[in-house]
């Protein structure tokens, strides 16, 4: 009971700390964007520049003529009401920020989950094999794989997969999330999930086929991290005293790996998953661009170049909230697995 209460207290404390952290982040982003050079109103008019009066009225309509602190108060009061404002950039201007993020977030989430699954499975498997067969040829191959795959440019690997699997072999679609005009009924925005919710297996197959190449691309690159981490942890646990004691009692090596070393080697990996999700979101931008997936990675990229301050703020806070939530879940999981973390 004491353990459950301390875990609950730990979780509540971490959750409570997340809110001021997000507010501080949002405040920092807000003012940094207003300090940086670049005029978002000018950027709205891609070609012809209108008369000065038109520009001034545009500034007034967008609220950009007010002092920064007035804009801040107005913006933050909207945030507390769940309103992240309207886009002021040339690509989405006038559209609600929360709406654009909601349109695109499912694509990134779908891509991230699929990629993380592939990264975890391949990375853990190879790491375990490498760690269990330390200093053998298998281990060398695993280490080479872990190093090389992690430094391969995502877009290069993605284009390679498109050429081989889509154009040459014709097995998979080269890009996009869907083919045709008969889209799944929107519930979550993730086509795989929505297809299953409407019980349409054909739709699920279409959505899944479109996910294979992008998830494989991003997942393989990230698997390098897991390979090296799991391998290192495997070696550490395989050489630990309790493992030696287990062997001394005559337990076969396979059982030592499977029942003891493997699980203990995974504990630190679980806690690193949160960090990996942050890296995954960063890598998703390149994957989204390569595979024409309109996720929030591309949204952020377009917002930055068009100085769409409200959209940048909105995407950053959503990103941060997601990372905080995932880290919180991972930390709670880690604390549940390893009570030492809670102390």
């Amino acid at each position: 009971m004491a353990g459950s209460r301390s875990l609950l207290a730990y979780a509540v404390t971490r959750a409570a700390l997340a809110i001021p952290m997000l507010l501080i982040l949002l405040t920092a982003v807000f003012f940094i964007l207003r300090i940086l050079p670049g005029d978002p109103v000018l950027a709205l008019y891609g070609g012809r520049e209108p008369p000065r009066e038109v520009l001034e009225e545009a500034r007034r309509q967008l609220g950009l003529d007010k002092p920064p602190w007035v804009q801040y108060v107005s913006y933050m009061s909207g945030v507390f009401r769940g309103d992240l404002g309207l886009s002021i950039g040339e690509f989405y201007h006038g559209r609600p920020v929360i709406g654009e993020i909601a349109n695109r977030l499912p694509a990134t989430v779908e891509l991230s989950i699929g990629s993380m699954f592939i990264a975890s499975v391949i990375g853990i498997l190879t790491g375990v094999v490498g760690g269990a067969r330390r200093d053998t040829k298998t281990d060398v191959a695993v280490r080479l794989y872990g190093t090389i795959i992690y430094v391969i440019p995502i877009f290069w690997l993605g284009i390679l997969f498109q050429i081989v699997f889509a154009i040459w072999l014709g097995w998979l679609p080269p890009h996009g999330r869907w083919q045709g005009t008969n889209y799944p009924r929107t519930v979550t925005g993730m086509y795989t999930v929505d297809s299953l919710l409407e019980g349409n297996f054909d739709h699920f197959v279409i959505a899944a086929r479109h996910l294979v190449l992008p998830c494989l691309t991003l997942g393989l690159v990230l698997s390098g991290f897991f390979t090296k981490t799991v391998r290192a942890n495997m070696i550490r646990t395989m050489t630990a005293d309790y493992t030696e004691a287990t062997r001394a009692r005559g337990v076969p090596d396979r059982q030592v790996v499977r029942r003891h070393a493997f699980k203990n080697a995974l504990v630190p990996v679980v806690t690193l998953l949160g960090l990996q999700f942050a890296i995954l979101f960063a890598g998703a931008v390149l994957t989204e661009k390569t595979f024409s997936i309109d996720g929030i990675g591309l949204l952020l990229l377009q917002s930055v170049v068009s100085k769409d301050m409200t959209m940048i703020q909105g995407v950053v806070v959503i990103y941060a909230a997601i990372i905080v939530l995932i880290s919180l879940i991972i930390d709670i999981l880690g604390a549940a697995i390893d009570p030492r973390i809670r102390l």
Binding site: P37, E57, H175, G176, S306
Partner: protein, 573 residues
């Protein structure tokens, strides 16, 4: 031993003395020039290459050192407007098909600051006013000639090339016309099919004509909505659309003073939802665009350039009485506060598209199927944001025989168009045509020169046709000539020397694979509205890569050529 030491010391003294003498003599001077360009793809992926080729061509004459600098678009625009950029690359796409739109914005004192040149000349201002406020063709031709001559004489800009538009499509698809103003989906014909797929990397900002001011939004607005007058299918001549004819001075539709334009609507016009389209609705629609005056929208073309006014006392609509509806509710007259020679072109622009009576009068109309209602050949029946549009034939389209005299009996030709948006860039478009089965019948715009070349190479094996046509889009260099600005290049001789150095052939060959047309005036020569006025003034005055002429000027200015020993030593040190 002693002699060896002395010998070493003497040799060292000689060497040090030689280097000191060389370093102390005045170095051959080169002109230092910063060339700025946009780095985030606003003008496409070839900007780095273009800047590099320009740098090389200017440096090739031997007396200039060019440093390349870049910024993302938002910063680039601000720096330009604040006069911080001395010399930079820009592009221009006209809003209306009139030569005025290639000269007035650049050379008039009111417009040049927004291009970062800050060029100002009272005589030039008068010439601009003259050509804008007359319908006399001879006067306009004379002023356009004078303006181009002055452009070459003062060199606030150096025209480089006019761009190209491109489409690649399955070979049996017909009527893929690369119209310079308006790409028409409704004339494309995929034989034995009532529908076709088109892929593009463009996306929209809005399907509300009052807001749409980016390329693809305008393109889709032109498929779903109608204007009073529109363009022929291939040429840039205007014809009646919702109006029966294009008003001119000759037919009495335009008053002699050029301030009154009268359009007569066809009878019994309807929107796709069955509601009536009459002169009252036209007035309401134009006023709506002016009143909303969305930031980033094109309404200022109507109330400022078009001289309809925007009057706060009149509810931010056009000036009272500026738009007059006759009792027959078919005739509508626009009374301008000053003559505007190109008013018909503004009325043909997408911001003048007519929207239904019940459109939101003070804010954007949502881009939702069922609420986007026009009178054009297509209706919007499917929209997945950032991914796909589906357009279907408007059963109530008013003028299906509009192009019958041009060999297209009925429009729209195909009943359904699916437009797929590819955020993956040119590579995604190429892939759409390379896979089996193809994911697109037509791919339009934004193909890089390399991808274009790849498709041309594989055209036969893939069963494609690749079309490249002249585009009204122009690229040019800008000099900041603002008096008193420390970064400005106010010495005309410097600008002339650089104008001599530019090598347009190298740009065409090395950057764009021979797909662009070298440009020797800001006015592009290849269009019916500009060809009569085009004068290749920069070819006559400066040519290309004319280093001998450039170096004559540099020598007069005191700049040397090539490296001497001092430069070699200094560079290594």
């Amino acid at each position: 031993m002693l002699y060896a030491v002395v010998a070493v010391i003497v040799v060292a003294i000689i060497l040090i003395g030689t280097v000191a003498v060389i370093l102390s003599t005045p170095a051959p001077r080169k002109y230092q020039l910063d060339l700025w360009f946009n780095s985030d793809g606003h003008y496409g992926d070839t900007e780095d290459e273009l800047a590099t080729v320009l740098k090389n061509s200017i440096e090739a004459c031997g007396k200039v050192t060019v440093t390349l600098k870049s910024e993302i678009w938002a910063d680039f625009r601000q720096s330009r407007n604040q006069g911080e950029l001395p010399f930079f690359l820009l592009g221009w796409y006209p809003d209306y098909s009139d030569t005025d739109d290639y000269l007035a914005p650049f050379l008039a004192s009111t417009g040049s600051p927004s291009f970062g040149s800050f060029y100002s000349n009272a005589t030039v201002d008068q010439w601009v006013t003259d050509e804008q406020t007359t319908t006399n063709a001879a006067i306009r031709a004379d002023r356009f000639t004078k303006l181009q001559d002055k452009l070459a004489a003062d060199v606030p800009y150096i025209p480089l090339f006019s761009g190209y538009s491109e489409a690649a499509y399955v070979s049996n698809v017909l009527n893929v016309e690369l119209h310079p103003i308006m790409f028409k989906l409704f004339i494309i014909d995929k034989p034995n099919s009532a529908e076709f797929n088109l892929s593009t990397t463009d996306d929209i900002t809005s399907l509300d004509p009052a807001l749409a001011y980016d390329y693809f939004s305008i393109e889709l607005v032109n498929q779903i909505f109608d204007t009073l007058i529109t363009y022929e299918p291939v040429e840039t001549r205007l014809i009646g659309s919702l109006a029966t004819t294009v008003p001119t001075v000759a037919n009495g539709g335009v008053s002699a003073d050029g301030k009154n334009y009268t359009y007569v609507l066809r009878p019994n016009l309807k929107f796709s939802d069955g509601t009536a389209l009459n002169a009252t609705v036209v007035k309401r629609s134009i006023d709506r665009a002016i009143r909303i005056n969305d930031p980033g929208g094109a309404a200022f073309l109507l109330y400022d350039f078009g001289k309809l006014g925007r009057n706060a006392a009149n509810g931010n609509n056009s000036n009272p009485g500026a738009i007059e509806v006759q009792p027959d509710d078919l005739t509508i007259t626009f009374h301008l506060s000053a003559p505007v020679a190109f008013f018909n072109d503004l009325i043909a622009f997408s911001v003048s598209s007519i929207v239904p009576w019940n459109y939101n009068q003070n804010a954007r109309q949502p881009d939702v199927v069922g609420t986007v209602v026009g009178s054009g050949p297509y209706t919007l029946t499917g929209y997945v944001p950032n991914q796909q549009f589906v357009l279907e034939k408007n059963a109530l389209y008013n003028t299906p025989s509009l192009y019958s005299t041009f060999g297209i009996p009925t429009i729209p030709v195909d009943d359904t168009v699916t437009v797929n948006l590819r955020s993956g860039g040119s590579t995604a478009l190429k892939q759409d045509l390379s896979v089996t089965p193809k994911l697109a019948d037509v791919v339009y715009r934004t193909l890089t020169p390399d991808d274009l070349r790849d498709l041309q190479t594989q055209a036969t094996s893939l069963g494609l046709t690749v079309d490249i046509a002249a585009s009204p889009f122009i690229r040019y260099l800008v000099f900041n000539v603002q008096p008193g600005n420390p970064v400005a290049i106010t010495d005309l001789r410097v600008r002339q020397a650089i104008a001599y150095s530019v090598d347009r052939q190298a740009i065409d060959r090395d950057v764009f694979r021979n797909n662009v047309d070298p440009l020797y005036s800001l006015v592009p020569p290849g269009f019916s509205f500009s060809a009569p006025y085009y004068k290749p003034v920069f070819q006559t005055e400066y040519g290309d890569a004319a280093c001998a002429d450039a170096n004559t000027i540099w020598t007069q200015l005191g700049y040397a050529t090539s490296f001497g020993t001092r430069d070699l030593i200094a560079r290594d040190l």
